[in-house]
């Protein structure tokens, strides 16, 4: 019998349904409906209509708890686009099971099976240890979490002392990696050659598509600390030239990683740090695509956050990435001058997309926010930038208002800038003014 996730869910429903009648069960329905309108901030020949995205979306949450030990959560997502980035401004409709996960738990263990989003890492926005989830950056939304993509996976958590220990062991097997979808600036698109923009969806349960990871976490009163290992795939696609077909194709490279994170409070501050050492299979010398794809690198985020006057918060994070064995694309050489030129161009495009244009890449994020449960207004300013040998940045101010319970209106801007040969500067034409109306029920 062929394996099929829908069949697994159907089986889970059947099991849940049979238990339902005998125990203290509950069923919860909920969801959200939201519309997003993204307009270009600057006039751009790429978006003649002036609209980057016009969409109406709905999430339907269904949760059933057949017994004290079991539960099932399904979140279905429906998106109707009048225009969006990934469909070349065509109207389209899509639907998917965002999450569909069955949970079984005892005092000390928790087993989750199904389509799930597993976000790792304690930093804000930039997470070197976020090995298992992905994001669709072509789906524009003020809430970064909406962009997050899950995958079919099995996760087992074990906490000794009947769940009362501060130490937890986690093991994860993902049936296929989720694919991060980037906005690809025109400057990265090659001309005069067949080019596939986005990779095909990976097949499940293949040696080169499955992912494995483990984490040991100490979650204490005053300190959280974790160490993690990962073997899987880089969810960001990179490009390579296939000489036989004369095509530039995307690929998701297998990689291994070790990392960790921590957070603690120090007086008025919450301190967070996260770091990972990531070793792509093609990231070292003597591998065929060395120099063209992202090399082995060490990624670190250290930051602190504090509140002011109760309702205001400020946060700063320092980002640092160091590429081990980095080579400048201009140093790539092959026996053929034409091929050398092509390979150098592809290496530059990959470096632009994955932000590895330099051996050492320092950056920072800054967030200043106002949020109060007792007020109907909130505001947030987020800035991320990289600043060695030229700079590039994204500035995202937004203001939210809750006119009634469940409703929220948000207006803001995504403003990319800086050197246009850098990852964020290259997206200047994607700068936008946005509005979102959302109802949660």
């Amino acid at each position: 019998m062929r394996f099929s996730w829908p069949k697994v869910f159907a089986l889970v429903f059947a099991v849940s349904g049979s238990a339902h009648a005998e125990s203290d069960s509950s069923v919860t329905l909920g969801g959200r409906i939201y519309t997003d309108q993204y307009l270009t901030a600057y006039s751009s020949p790429n978006y003649s209509s002036g609209i980057l995205q016009s969409s109406l979306s709905a999430w339907m949450d269904f949760r059933v708890k057949p017994s004290e030990r079991t539960s099932f959560l399904a979140v279905a997502q429906f998106d109707a686009f009048l225009k969006n980035l990934s469909q070349n401004e065509k109207a389209s409709f899509s639907s998917k099971i965002r999450e569909g996960v069955f949970t079984f738990q005892t005092e000390s263990t928790e087993l989750k099976i199904g389509q799930q989003i597993i976000p790792w890492g304690k930093s804000d926005g930039v997470n070197p240890t976020d090995y298992f989830s992905a994001k669709d950056y072509t789906l524009l939304n003020p809430d970064e979490e909406v962009k997050r993509l899950g995958a079919p996976a099995m996760m087992l958590n074990y906490t000794p002392k009947k769940g009362a220990s501060p130490v937890t062991f986690t093991g994860i097997v993902q049936a296929a990696y989720p694919q991060t979808k980037l906005i690809i600036p025109n400057s990265a698109v090659p001309t005069g050659v067949a080019f596939q923009k986005y990779p095909n969806a990976p097949a499940m349960f293949q040696d080169n598509t499955m992912e494995y990871g483990g984490k040991i976490a100490y979650l204490g009163n005053d300190l959280d600390l974790s160490l993690s290992v990962f073997r899987g795939v880089n969810h960001f696609a990179q490009y390579f030239y296939e000489t036989g077909t004369n095509q530039i194709l995307p690929t998701n490279v297998q990689q291994s990683a070790v990392g960790g994170d921590l957070s603690f409070t120090a007086g008025a501050y919450v301190v967070r740090a996260e770091s990972a050492y990531i070793m792509p299979d093609q990231g070292s010398e003597n591998t065929p695509l060395y120099g063209i794809l992202q090399p082995t690198h060490w990624d670190t985020v250290i930051g602190a956050e504090r509140s002011f006057f109760e309702d205001f918060r400020a946060q700063i994070q320092f980002l640092y990435r160091y590429h081990v064995g980095y080579i400048d694309p201009s140093l790539i050489s092959t026996p053929s001058p034409a091929l050398t030129l092509a390979q150098q161009k592809i290496a530059r495009a990959n470096a632009l997309l994955l932000n590895f244009q330099r051996e050492s890449n320092p950056g920072a994020t800054f967030r200043f926010g106002y949020a109060s449960d007792s007020s109907d207004w909130n505001a947030d300013l987020f800035i991320v930038g990289y600043f060695a040998k030229g700079y590039d940045y994204l500035v995202r101010p937004q203001v939210g208002y809750k006119p009634a319970e469940g409703w929220k209106l948000t207006a803001g801007a995504d403003l990319y800038g800086g050197n246009e040969s850098r990852p964020l500067g290259a997206l200047k034409n994607n700068s936008s003014l946005f509005f979102e109306g959302r109802y949660v029920f």
Binding site: G163, L219, G267, S374, G406
Partner: protein, 264 residues
């Protein structure tokens, strides 16, 4: 002897015996009177006035730690939809500082709440995070400042006790320069409290009602209805407990970060 005289004599006897003990001893008895091994209740938090009242519903679970003094508290929100599944874990420490952790289901992550922020609003209410945690005898110094008819029962004479933070940690956590509490003579429960800002201005007034004996064997009490008013803007929050269950043997594993991020 008529009925009024019996009440008067009773009150006098109670007041006399109550006055003989120190304010600290009264507060020790107060802590004893409200201390149960564990309790779990459904809670409704209503903030605002008139037609503009915002209500949040949650389950509150609390268990005394192994030291027999400090508590661990977990709140899990059920409604409105915007806060569904959010959870707050409060772990009290003996150094005067509490650890507060907030679970945000949208991010599937836990965020620590720094101590300075713990005097801030608890889920948009007039209560603060530190109000939701429990006060302890050693956290404060006490002074009796008089007696008064109890606000909720005029036949009883309450003792008014001024409580000042015993350490900077408690001052930072609570955000109160002092508080004045009205303690009942019969069960030592607090019927009213006034909380003062760091500059000495009156900030909040709390009134407790529906004080019921929840453990009749060990004489433990719980105020099922709490009302707090911010005197600076007259905003009011009512916190009402229902389905109260005590000493049911809640597991220690409920009060962990691991459990905080388990949404069922």
């Amino acid at each position: 002897m008529n009925k009024n005289l019996i009440v008067l004599l009773g009150t006098l006897i109670t007041t006399t015996s109550f006055a003989a003990i120190s304010p600290r001893e009264i507060m020790v008895k107060n802590e004893e009177a409200r201390k149960v091994s564990d309790f779990e209740a459904r809670a409704k938090l209503a903030t605002g006035s008139g037609s503009n009242i915002k209500t949040k519903e949650f389950t509150l679970s609390r268990k005394v730690q192994k030291d027999g003094i400090h508590n661990n508290t977990l709140t899990r929100f059920h409604s409105p939809a915007e806060v569904r599944d959010e959870g707050i874990l409060i772990l009290e420490n003996d150094n005067g500082k509490n650890d507060v952790m907030l679970y945000l289901p949208n991010f599937k992550k836990i965020r620590r709440v720094e101590s300075q922020q713990q005097s801030g609003s608890f889920m948009g209410s007039v209560f603060s995070y530190s109000d939701i945690a429990t006060p302890h005898v050693d956290d404060f110094q006490y002074k009796t400042i008089g007696t008064e008819k109890c606000p909720g029962n005029q036949k009883l004479i309450c003792t008014k006790i001024e409580c000042t933070p015993a350490s900077n940690e408690v001052l930072e956590r609570t955000g109160y320069s002092k508080s004045i509490v009205w303690t009942r003579p019969d069960n030592f429960m607090i019927e009213k409290a006034e909380y003062f800002q760091l500059d000495g201005k009156l900030w909040k007034i709390l009134t407790a009602s529906e004080i019921k004996e929840v453990d009749t064997k060990n004489h433990k009490w719980l105020a099922h209805s709490l009302s707090i008013v911010n005197q600076l803007n007259q905003e009011k929050t009512d916190l009402i407990f229902s389905n109260v269950k005590v000493n049911t043997g809640l597991a220690d594993s409920i009060f962990t970060q691991q459990n905080l991020q388990k949404v069922r």
